[in-house]
């Protein structure tokens, strides 16, 4: 029986998860041989720690971004503004919790912010709600410009990418605001056996999965990505789908901003989420979603995000200085692009069919 005729084999080679999982496995195999103790997972007070857990935890922001980015890229667009939206979200959250830190005229309760970890200006639910509303609004803005203003996606989101960091700095007045409020810090630093941020990723992923796979929205998104005009003629409101995709991406960026700022206990308008848009786009690309739009797989994008994070963590763990991470990530991306290029795949197919025959 030739492998091409075997339905199981076909299912495997055509699965979107195959390549990203293979890439992740390769990196982990590398770690197995070159990083002593990479796979040790220690149990401290019932919580798990270790390099593998670190990959999951540190990758959670990019995983969240990748979920939203998958929507956007599947419609044939791209969202370069997610890093800036993360910064805006973090700034809004930080200002809501301790606006006093901003002022030169320090209030009487300044001590409280530092000494009392349960002191905050706005309650946590309010902080989260407003932050997510603001970031969804940012995404909505992108979507409206792209769908109704008919500006190219790359340009519209580029504008928010440039202006967004400015706006984030405006909100915090250019100051890095430290967050002492412990319940907020739990979002990115808490542990419930596994890091708490992972549960947030799981929740957002479940939401996205239900949205796309239990309603027709997923199909609509793919159809818009493949051909927006013909989708329009077959009765899909392609503009509304696009707006939805960008708004969801903004929402995901907001969640990622909360996780990241809570993780480092600061809001840093200049650096928070810097370069994350690239990580997210590449995570989606590694996940096999064509950057021109069309079919997508959320799970594959998540694995793609893990590939990016595993690369980073492995490089750091083998003791390569952190500044080299960027270059090595770049090479990994080139490698993945080569793997995905049609030309190379055609060659591979030819080889495997010869080998099978």
């Amino acid at each position: 029986m030739s492998p091409a005729g075997n339905p199981r084999h076909r299912k495997l080679t055509e699965s979107r998860l195959l390549f990203p999982v293979l890439a992740l496995a390769l990196i982990l195999v590398f770690d197995f041989f070159y990083v002593p103790g990479f796979f040790t997972i220690t149990n401290r007070d019932g919580n798990l720690y270790g390099n593998l857990i670190d990959i999951l935890r540190n990758g959670s922001a990019v995983m969240l971004l990748a979920i939203g980015m998958t929507f956007v890229i599947a419609t044939g667009g791209v969202d370069l503004s997610v890093g800036a939206v993360m910064a805006i979200a973090a700034s809004v959250a930080a200002v809501m919790m301790n606006p006093v830190i901003l002022g030169t005229s320090i209030g009487t309760d300044i001590e409280k912010f530092v000494t009392d970890p349960s002191f905050t200006y706005s309650p946590l639910w309010e902080v989260i709600l407003v932050t997510l509303a603001v970031s969804t609004l940012c995404g909505l803005w992108n979507g409206l410009l792209i769908a109704y203003g008919r500006i190219q996606a790359i340009m519209a989101t580029l504008i928010l990418m440039i202006a967004g960091r400015g706006i984030a700095q405006l909100i915090t007045n250019g100051v890095r605001i430290q967050i002492f409020y412990e319940p907020f810090a739990y979002i990115g630093n808490g542990w419930l056996v596994l890091p708490f941020s992972l549960y947030i990723v799981a929740a957002v992923f479940a939401l996205a999965w239900v949205l796309t796979r239990r309603t027709a929205i997923g199909l609509f998104i793919e159809s818009v990505g493949i051909n927006a005009t013909s989708s329009y003629f077959s009765g899909i409101n392609e503009k509304r789908i696009k707006v939805l995709a960008y708004a969801f991406s903004g929402f995901c960026a907001g969640v990622a901003g909360l996780v990241a700022s809570s993780n480092i206990r600061t809001s840093d308008a200049n650096n928070l989420g810097w370069g994350y848009e690239l990580d997210a786009i590449l995570a989606v690309a590694i996940g096999g979603t064509l950057t021109t739009g069309g079919r997508f797989s959320l799970a594959a994008s998540l694995v793609g995000a893990l590939v990016m994070q595993a690369t980073t963590t492995s490089i750091l763990a083998i003791g390569v200085p952190a500044f080299a991470v960027q270059a090595i990530k770049g090479f990994v991306v080139v490698l993945v692009l080569l793997l995905y290029s049609e030309q190379l795949r055609a060659l591979l197919r030819k080889l495997t069919s010869q080998w099978g025959a």
Partner: protein
Amino acid sequence: MPTSIGGLLSRNKRFVPLAVTIVMLLLAYGFGAYHYAAMREPQVFFNLFRNYPFLLISAVGMTFVIISGGIDLSVSGVVALTTVVVAALLRAGWDAWAVIGFVLAMGTLYGALMGSFITYLKVQPFIATLAGMWIARGMCFFISDDAIPIRDRTFRILARTKILIPGLADPDTKTGAFVSFLVVAAIVVLLVAIYVAHYTRFGRTVYALGGNERSAQLMGLPVQRTKVLVYTISGFCSALAGVTLSISVMSGHGLYASNFEMDVIASVVMGGAPLSGGTGYVFGTLLGVLVNIVIQSIIQFNGQLSSWWTKIVIGALTLMFIGVQSYMLTRKGRAKQRTAARADRSILMRRRRKQVVTIAAAAAVLLVAVRGVNRWVRQATGGGVEAVAVQGEACQDPPLRTLGLTVPTSDGAPVIVFERNGGPRCVGEVFTVFADGRVVADDGKEVREERSTPAEVAQVLAEIDGLGWFSDELYDTWHTRCRECYGYAVTVASQGRVKQVKGVDGGTDAPARYWDAVKAIHGLVRKEKER
């Protein structure tokens, strides 16, 4: 013959975006000159060129890419890599001209490589060039972690040569308005590019490629070769921009020109070349660059406005230009359909109006929102803290003083050495904690000794050990790219084991327990500081 303005516009619509840019430039410069007397000096006008020749050179290369319908996000990486390679080779004793030739060849080859990726492997331009940017920027740090100064004589001469402007300068005393040699280089690049874009076969192919790649191919134009060449040109221009940057700052570092590609792209778009490709003028890019520079100068002259206003204003302006451009494009569509049925026309009109309304509303909302946020923040904080912020902008991470320092584990030696530096306030503090409870605080200016209790120190040590400090889980995550965050080097000695872990906040790459350890030590030393 009476003509309406509308008619005039639609007959010369190719030049409308260009005209808008010119009006914009004049308005911005007029505004600056009206408010700030210093901006009226002719030298300030020439300084506009002098400070940013690398922006113009890079933008010229980018113009070709954008006209061809692509995008090159790697420019900032190539510029930074060029400065580092130039500085490193000069330090190694190479001849200045050989170095310049080498880096130009390097940049050109790099561009060609990315171009081939995009052309032959059909990788999306922004992904391929993004990867290119990462690799180039990462390479900088493989060569050198710190800034490398340039002490070459030829480079010094190139940097200091003043070319006086006839009529505005006194040739005898060598005073008055002048431009540097680099500006001349930038102008030459611009002129050559104008010639190439508008008067050669290659230039026309670039336009055809951006207009419609398939038709260009069907017309028998060398599409693939042109596409590779376009990115090659951009790579060359970025390398040249890197050379001019390294001459004007006389050093090379991997952190230079961060986010530079955004400035370049915004300049090209403001110069009237839409990202959809196919139209635009190289000359427009000069105007776009000037608009960009004038706005940055106004914000500098103002002094009150924080630097982030530049980002917001550039963003809003870019949006406005895109609005104008897409308005023109739909106008073109309407002109074509004018002979068609009236119903069609009204639909088109409505659609156009809708689009204009959306973009205008978006721009208005952006400005109103920004103003609102600004006022709200001012109210909430009772005035800004501009001084701190401005200082922060200028702050570069100094090297850690405790780098390479190891703590001997004999009795009486320090058990924790904690250094925190950088940040918005440019601190450089070293705290040395001894087992007997002494804490020596050194902020680079004065050294103070405080006392804690041995029990407290032992407790913190135990806590850090419990966090897995000496396990494989904690490793260096020292990024150098961050400009405003604090750098930490923490050395801990406990029970005969010593380990130093360096990290920078602002990134989330650090292992889970690193910040908990830092926080524990912070509690110990902060108390000492406040006492």
